[in-house]
Symmetry: D2
Subunit: 347 residues, 4 copies
């Protein structure tokens, strides 16, 4: 049983608390929020947890193994640093930190302390993303050719972070998770827009060149009356389409039905009037709350003294792409090489 | 009755010939192809048309009012020029020409000759694009905020043109057609990829900044076993979703359901768990072949001595964006201002 | 605050208990199950509730206002009778009882005791069914012409009740709820099948003639690897399509777009090649757990001393149709008039 | 080359004529209609065909091999009889005739004359129905358990035939075509409704018990502003879902994912919250006009002196079910055994 404190009782914290409380592998010990009432409202549902607005109470509690941090991004680094220094394992809501520098410092500190630093890349713990990762990494889809995500949220203009920092961490953490180990982002170009004049980008396009010649792209958007969450992952043998708003058929696997060498053999005309070339398979996927799996991976990786599936380094790689996108936006969309962001040897 | 000759009997030419032959407003007089057999095979279905492999026969035929050109792009300019000089109105398959310079020369020549030069932007003549144009231009969607197209074709790697020149003309001609008159493309950034090493880009991302602060984007892709043709057009009041592969519900109009001023009033939480904010309307749209409308607009605009809906200038604007995209690709995605492509006063 | 005891801790009981415990309008006081362990497992999550395997403890508890019964159908009547006699209001899982006679006796007893008897017709408390009821009863759809439901469950062959008694109560309670008050079922014909030889019908078709000349039908089916839950409700002006497995667009309202008088005016040919005649509207519907609304209606109707929305009489009307269906099945599908089932004056 | 005359130039005749004219296996020789102008309008597109309003001209023409009949149902028997007596093979639009007696007489006459009598069950010649037949007859779906079709047409109230005779021949011919040879309809129950008071049934439900214990059903409906054409075919191993209005995914094959013996092993609870049990495959199907295949089967079966795929006997079996449905409707839905309709030895 891993004992866990939750810091931050806003939107995500209560979900973390509930999953920690209900799991057989974890025990919820503290809920901490600067707003003590808010912490208490969350704690009421979970009798066993103590409530505080003072982080040091948690740091001083020798019985606490790990801390789950769900506070505003700007505060991640300071809180996580304090926890790591106090010998606590850390699970941190995405994005890992507010900058590459902060993130890198956390990764380094965790390593030197021999503690687990895990980034809560929740989507990576869904059945559908797990399946996509398997299909990509096993070579089932052939060589990866492209990745395209349209992520349109009923999005609320936020005052602190723009649409890139709000939504892209989802796509970037998924991309990082499913990419074969030999394929890495090379350069990033980005353009954003603020057509309503709210002061920060509400629409963004992020294009990432990958080391194997493939191209990844994400359309990030807050300004819509309806959600869209569609990701396509193309390979030389199969193409995956993931529609997260269609629970009865989240994942569709399109079979090319032809060898790539024969591709020219199909007449252009025939292809122009067809809908598709091969069969499509929609695999059966279990439903279930991804955050439960996050919490259990945190507990298991601590118990087994191993690196969690989405560690601090994964969170740092996401920050590097975000930083490159920031710099590209400032340069009219020019591609920024990722090795300009952070020295390769440090990664 | 406008008499029309068709030049080019490959993929598109026979469709043009059929529509010209069947319309009450046009008469098919010639079919011309360098390959006389191919021309004859097409002509066989349309008894009234003569067949030739010599363009000059058409140019010399005083009874021919207009020429519809469906030859490879590289030959557009020379053939169209000859036709215009011979006093024929010209309908030309998209893209208008192989370069901005060629296109601009054609536009100028047509103007000086007092002849109609029409670009066959076929999609602009579908019921769904007509409705989108109405909804955007009437202000029904509010202010235009974004435009995003995913156009994945069962695409056949072609030897002469890359995926930008093959597919983007569809999106660019539609964008040009539906944009309010006061809103124009300002700059273009593009990145392409050739992950199979075929020698030209098979995947492309094109991002266009618009003069009102909105952002347009097109994902162009040949490398898929299934087609995707989804376009979303976002406004401050409504969002349009067009799925061209879903004939029973091509167009969905999502109502914001809230005033933009109240947007903050919705709690972030509530929006995060909802699918959408307001009602959706899927208007009834007539089915019908767009090319029939193209042919009739060509005939009508000649008969009424007016500029056709998609004239040479529209075709030229598409070429300008393509040229900017070429230049941006060569500059690692850096945005290229459209006024660098072609002097504004010339347009 | 209405105090409620839950009897039955199998599949549905814990859901009832949770909603009763979490609502501000109700207080969960007892959980009763013959299997005390099972009751205790449920009770553990809701500290305030006592646990028992002896119904009389609840009956004797003067502080208990109402009892929610979620036991096997065969036991409904006896338990509900005991509760009503002890002066408790009763909420009872559908179907109300195992026979019309049992159901009628319960309705009569509740009335004579001046207590509320409510049937838990859960679907009637979803936003989508509420909207359908509004659209039908307001005359928005015009005159009701047909109602057709396909309800295919991942169904587990059950040993106690067949597919009619398992699934039809959903459709029959919804039909009862949305029908205009002037329209009532008149006769029922039914055919079932047991193609796997399990001993009771696993597939059923139920056809109901309505008093206004309309026809209702339900296809009930356990034998499928995928769920289907599609209901169409046709009127002279609009047709409603409800697909409950498509959360982003549960309800589609198809507009006839033509007056019924003009119906002949459309050429048959044109209609044969079209997908639809008028616009379609998919209204925005709030998500939310229907059972919460059930529990609150139970509490509210008690507090306000009024008949609940789905009272015992509604549950009895469902039983009458089920009884007629049983008799029709036994008569090779011959229609059974509902006034043969139960004397009209008694209803 | 089989020479064919078309009789009837209304809605379906011109489609037959076009396919006969364009096929390499047939030659269109005559178009006959009582309305000579209508015949001429059709003939104009097909230069080689002669036009007449006198059937005897065709009967007397020794060069005519076969006659395709697309006249009102009431006239089928007389025209077909004349053609068969004149030694012509006959292709006849569904339904084969206006009664079982008429149909049986035609079948007998064709047999005694040694001529082919083919029923134009067009849907049987689509790729999707062919695939369904293969999946059912090969045992791929396991034992057939149920068949359910919802066929809602933008339907025009017709004066001559009701919704059963208009739409059910589609479903009945498909059912007849896909059923394993050992499985046959046993009894039929039907109920219809005419809620608008137009004088004949506009809505119908047809339930057919099959000889293996399975149940088939069709919902037939004219009164809707939108089309629905969904058919599900359930087997013990797989379930097929055919949505004919979704061209990009007409057929979905749901895999049970479990042996039927293990069915009980899945907890009821788990099944209640899941969408489906196993994978789904949507096979790639070629597009193409079914009527082309009809015409070619007619020609091929004549040339090869073999029974066509959908012969007169198939047409007759459809009539028998329609007759049983008529009788059941007249008997308040009571099931009518098919061997009451027509003596088994005659079939």
């Amino acid at each position: 049983m891993v004992t866990v404190a939750v810091v931050g009782a806003g939107y995500w914290g209560p979900n973390l608390a509930r999953n920690i409380a209900l799991s057989d592998m974890t025990q919820l010990t503290w809920i901490c929020d600067l707003d003590l009432d808010r912490a208490a409202r969350v704690g009421r549902h979970f009798g066993e947890a103590k409530v505080t607005n003072d982080l040091s109470e948690i740091l001083d509690d020798r019985s606490v193994d790990g801390v789950a941090i769900a506070t505003p991004v700007a505060t991640h680094a300071a809180i996580a640093q304090a926890c790591l220094k106090a010998g606590k394992h850390v699970l941190i809501e995405k994005p890992l930190a507010a900058s590459v520098e902060e993130g890198a410092a956390l990764v380094e500190l965790a390593e030197s302390q021999g503690l687990n630093l895990m980034t809560d890349h929740t989507f990576c713990y869904t059945a559908v993303v797990g399946r996509i990762r398997d299909l990509v990494r096993s070579g089932d889809i052939g060589d990866l050719l492209y990745y395209d995500s349209v992520r349109v949220n009923l999005g609320l203009v936020q005052s602190d972070i723009d649409v890139f920092w709000d939504l892209a961490p989802h796509d970037l953490s998924i991309l990082d998770f499913v990419l074969p180990e030999t394929v890495r982002p090379v350069s990033v170009s980005a353009r954003g827009a603020d057509p309503l004049g709210v002061g920060l980008d509400c629409i963004g396009h992020l294009t990432i060149a990958l080391s194997n010649g493939a191209l990844a792209h994400a359309h990030l958007n807050w300004l819509s009356p309806t959600k869209i969450r569609t990701t396509i992952v193309g390979g030389s043998k199969r193409m995956l389409m993931w529609d997260d708003l269609r629970p009865a058929q989240r994942l569709s696997v399109f079979d090319a039905g032809v060898e790539i060498d024969d591709f020219d053999a199909i007449s252009r005309h025939e292809a122009l009037v067809s809908y598709r070339i091969g069969d499509m398979v929609a695999p059966s996927l279990p439903e279930g709350e991804a955050l439960k799996n996050v919490v259990e991976e945190f507990a298991e990786s601590i118990a087994e003294r191993r690196i969690p599936l989405t560690d601090g380094a994964a969170g740092l790689r996401v920050l590097e792409v975000l930083a490159a996108a920031d710099r590209s936006r400032a340069s009219d969309g020019q591609a920024i090489a990722l090795d300009q962001i952070y020295p390769a040897e440090a990664r």
